[in-house]
């Protein structure tokens, strides 16, 4: 931080030293030079680190412009011949299902997940944070316990249940939990946030005759905005990137999401089209990256307030 602040200083420095104080000026100049050198070092090393970290991503993006057979085995990110064929293949769809179907499926699932999480988790969190009901401690402990349960333990029982209900090959298995506040992480996040809000506000509203629904909608929801935004962003990104759930529950290619579809180009038992897969991966990354850039300010803000109010 300090390095970045001192960086612009040398630009305005030359010739500004007072003539009657040569010793101090020289000292100051030396200090500035030291500062410049240090900041230069800082910038060069962080840029070098950035290159190392970003290299795989740059390689992936640039590889999409290479002919498919020149991708694997080449570490150079610069394509020798530039082609858009990979994007043409990727946008051409898979097995008769157009590319935009996959995008729409992913979007529908992600948006519905966000809605489900926001509605169900905020109501659940309100109950835990503000209403004293018998067994609250037990239910709270139970909810926290579901966070400790490894995901892989529940896969098969869950599959059997949804299969018995005839809900396999629908979006229900992927969404039902979201609408029933099964994501303990989000519930917990919102509870912690609500506990930080002053109880006097509720009391004042209560004296004015407001019940729980009114307090929740008019007092809590507006104040909870940072927590809601954080949850929405996470819910969107997790749903968009989810691979395992759609793999198990979606059978018809027409219902596939982006992460499933992009795997269709690489199959170790038949020929693999790495170019098309990379192109598909880049296309799949775009929405989620745009989403992240648009909301990243809120994300950081939301997490920061959690930390303070805890």
């Amino acid at each position: 931080m300090s390095a970045t602040r001192t960086a612009p200083a040398p630009a305005t420095a030359p010739g500004t030293g007072a003539p009657d104080e040569p010793a101090t000026t020289a000292l100051r100049r030396a200090a500035r030079r030291r500062g410049t050198r240090r900041s230069l070092l800082f910038h060069v090393s962080s840029l070098a680190l950035l290159v190392v970290i970003l290299y795989p991503a740059v390689w992936m993006v640039m590889s999409t412009f290479k002919p498919s057979n020149q991708i694997v085995g080449s570490v150079s990110p610069v394509p020798s011949t530039v082609t858009l064929d990979n994007y043409v293949t990727a946008l051409g769809g898979i097995g008769g299902v157009p590319f935009w179907t996959f995008v729409t499926n992913s979007l529908v699932l992600a948006v519905a997940s966000v809605v489900g999480v926001l509605v169900s988790c905020s109501i659940t969190a309100y109950a835990f944070a503000r209403i004293s009901f018998p067994g609250r401690q037990v239910f709270f402990a139970g909810m926290i316990a579901t966070m400790l349960l490894p995901f892989h333990v529940v896969i098969i029982p869950q599959y059997i249940v949804f299969n018995e209900l005839g809900l396999v090959n629908t979006y229900w298995p992927l969404l039902l939990g979201k609408f029933l506040a099964a994501d303990a992480f989000f519930v917990f996040l919102m509870i912690q946030f609500m506990r930080g809000l002053p109880g006097e506000l509720d009391e004042a509203a209560r004296i004015d005759g407001a019940g729980h629904p009114r307090i929740f909608v008019s007092i809590m929801l507006p104040l909870m905005q940072p927590a809601l935004v954080t949850s929405a962003i996470f819910a969107f990104i997790w749903s968009w990137n989810d691979f395992f759930g759609p793999l198990l529950y979606l059978k018809s290619p027409r219902m596939f999401t982006m992460p499933i579809a992009l795997r269709a180009y690489v199959d170790q038992t038949s020929t693999s089209d790495y170019g098309a897969q990379m192109a598909m991966a880049v296309l799949a990354l775009l929405p989620v990256m745009l989403f992240f850039f648009a909301f990243q300010r809120h994300l950081v803000g939301g997490v920061a307030t959690q930390g303070l109010k805890g």
């Binding site: 694997v72 793999l247 290619p253 038992t269 020929t271």
Partner: protein, 432 residues
């Protein structure tokens, strides 16, 4: 104002979610009763988008012939396929028709997940065109569980373009392993001048099928009837030591270069002249190397031997789930996919060399298919044994072999340690 927009967004989202769910749920159900060849069945396969498009065509043909049967399709790539099928198997809800690999057939058969198709033979299912050895690989405990779509024989492929460029002669089927090592050194010498340097061979002891091929040459069993290993740790050590000298003097393609080229491998990247694999993967070799100019011969002979012992491996099997509610319709689909020459024409040899003569004739042969056909005709009299029945857990042993072999190539473990670890894995996998 802000609240109203928020509410509108919320309402819109919920409506969208509900609409999505409603749209998807139409799949289940369908006409309930009936044993006849009507109704709705599900079918799943593994493969890439190209295969998906081919199945799309094949199933359209099927719908034309059998308008009463509707086939719901699903496909995944190889690795994901088994994750999804294993979950379904645990829930006893496999799709009606499932594409199977011989490596998994035993495991699924043990859990009684498949219908015995021999009851339908000669009636709904025609198996007259299939060889007995091939049908044998779909048979477990005298029950015909899978009908093979194609088959392949273990082989050695070589890159003619690469060898022509270096001025080295093509390998022949008369070579033994010592000749092969000398030939590899010759390629390496010529290949040293090229950038990146070219090699004769990637370590040929690197896969379990190679070892099985080695065992079969001496007429040895690979796995016993009850699914145990029929070989000893010494057999494994002996086999690995056939490559010791070449590993030490750097005759084989370097391990780090193989790692850098994953998943292509040295042959696919055009840096190694030979490739040991099933004859069915030649098409993949053509796609990876970018040349149709590939050749195929039998792998080298054991020292002192004068002929090979080969076997046919079924490359894809069609099975019917034992939980199916429409067995007639499911078997009808299996019969169509396994016998129709039109279907063979769509797939060519991408599912393996077609299993029946009628289907082989229907294929419009590519350059690669001509090479494979010539090879199969050439070795026909040497295909004398049927492919070993692979035990439950075979897949994990095969994976372990590859993993351990990489450590051997890096010099991290000895052949003895390799054998000990492999047997430890087998005692878990085979008895688990």
């Amino acid at each position: 104002m802000a609240r109203r927009t928020a509410a509108a967004v919320l309402a819109g989202g919920i409506a969208l979610a509900l609409a999505a769910c409603a749209g998807g749920s139409g799949g289940s159900g369908g006409p309930g009763s009936g044993d006849g060849a009507t109704g709705e069945i599900t079918f799943t396969w593994w493969g890439n988008e190209e295969r998906a498009a081919q199945f799309e065509q094949a199933l359209d043909l099927f719908t034309e012939e059998h308008p009463d049967i509707e086939v719901l399709r699903n496909f995944n790539s190889w690795a994901d396929y088994w994750t999804a099928r294993n979950t379904e198997a645990a829930g006893r809800s496999l799709p009606d028709v499932v594409m199977m690999d011989v490596g998994y057939l035993g495991q699924y058969a043990q859990k009684d997940l498949f219908l015995d198709l021999s009851e339908y033979e000669g009636d709904t299912l025609d198996t007259s065109g299939f060889s007995d050895t091939l049908l044998g690989s779909g048979t477990v405990d005298d029950r015909l569980l899978g009908v093979p779509l194609g088959s392949g024989v273990w082989s050695m492929m070589y890159n003619k373009d690469l060898l022509d460029g270096l001025g080295v002669e093509y390998p022949t089927d008369a070579m033994d392993w010592d000749d092969f090592a000398d030939w590899s050194r010759e390629v390496n010498e010529a290949g040293a001048a090229v950038s990146p340097t070219q090699y004769g061979a990637e370590d040929p002891t690197g896969s379990l099928p190679s070892f099985m091929y080695h065992l079969m040459q001496d007429g040895n069993e690979v796995f016993t009837e009850d699914g145990q290993a029929a070989f000893t740790e010494e057999d494994v050590v002996d086999f690995l030591e056939t490559g010791d000298e070449q590993r030490e003097d750097g005759t084989y393609f370097p391990a780090e270069r193989s790692a850098a080229l994953t998943p292509l491998g040295g042959f696919g990247a055009g840096q190694v002249a030979t490739w040991f694999n099933w004859s069915t993967v030649l098409t993949q070799g053509v796609a990876d190397t970018g040349t149709e100019n590939l050749g195929m011969v039998t792998p080298p002979l054991e020292p002192g031997a004068d002929s090979h012992v080969l076997s046919e491996k079924a490359s894809m099997l069609l099975t019917v789930a034992s939980t199916t509610e429409k067995p007639e319709a499911a078997v009808t689909l299996v019969d169509f996919l396994a016998n129709s020459p039109e279907v063979a024409a769509i797939f060519g040899t991408s599912l393996g060399t077609p299993a029946t003569q009628e289907r082989r004739d229907a294929v419009d042969k590519s350059a690669a298919d001509v090479v494979v056909d010539a090879y199969l005709a050439d070795v026909a009299d040497q295909v004398t044994v049927s492919y070993p029945l692979l035990p439950v857990g075979y897949g994990s042993i095969e994976a372990k072999w590859v993993e351990l072999h990489e450590q051997i190539r890096y010099g991290q473990i000895t052949s003895e340690e390799f054998a000990t670890e492999l047997f430890a894995e087998m005692s878990l996998a085979l008895n688990g």
